[in-house]
Amino acid sequence: MAIDEGLLKSIPYFSGLSTAELDSIKAHIFERSIEGSGLILLEGEPADAMYFVASGVVKVFKTSSEGKEQILSFVRPGESFNDVSVFDGEPSIASAQAVKPAVLYGIRNSDLDLILRNHPQVSLNVIRVLSRQVRHLVSLVEDLSFKHVISRVAKILLEYASDGTEPKSRLTQQEMAALAGTAREMVGRSLRSLEDEGAIRLDHHRIVITNKEALREMAER
């Protein structure tokens, strides 16, 4: 399959580039399809490429020695992962796994060097992208160190709630636990408390946010 130029344009790494520049960059991009929920990278392995999600969703996570999973982020179309490890030349800092079948655009280390040298605009874009990632991680550290589980769960619900424009995200309690850095039972308990407070309603396979303001207050506690 050919690399989709429209999609390349929408990737923050490549914003502001001319068609000619995009064309020359395209030559360095390879495509990788992941079937089902396949593992893409393993934490600690040599990082030989960075990836953009072209379609699907990728989960980036760390695993503790006891096997507990902490999700760092869900990477959606246009967003990148494993870039930090490629830039600093260290092993992959986290594992990555497709949540559903995914198509990835990859760039190998050596090619990335070339791209950055030849297209200074990309370097500027990268700084912006990495700053955003740092911001996201700092907010995650803040949540994990200062917030109670119930506030973290409330925040996750607000973050993942669909406003009807994008395709709905779906999260299992297991995934919410891994996002909140807690055990699955704690998520179940938090959801029940949030329901008791009247902020949400559990409706079969849906979590309906019935009082967004109340939920926001819980998230900020």
Binding site: S37, S162, S169, E175, I207, I209, K212
Partner: protein
């Protein structure tokens, strides 16, 4: 027909715990593999996801905001 929990047959080791925990008989053992039977009685209690030692069952929630 209502939506049912998703089963990843590649992860399932056939331990049968889901069959025992589900009150609506949504899981049946066929040989040493388990299969999901669609039923209107699944209340999305997520016990099956919680009990499965292989992480083979998922009960994902859609998160939606109620229009007022």
């Amino acid at each position: 027909m209502d939506l049912m929990p998703a089963l990843d047959r590649e992860k399932c080791n056939g331990c049968g715990l889901c069959v025992r925990v589900c009150h609506c008989n949504a899981f049946v053992m066929i040989g040493n593999l388990v299969a999901v039977v669609e039923t209107d009685f699944c209340g999305w209690c997520t016990h099956c996801e919680a009990i499965c030692p292989m992480g083979a069952i998922s009960c994902p929630f859609e998160i939606v905001i109620e229009e007022r």
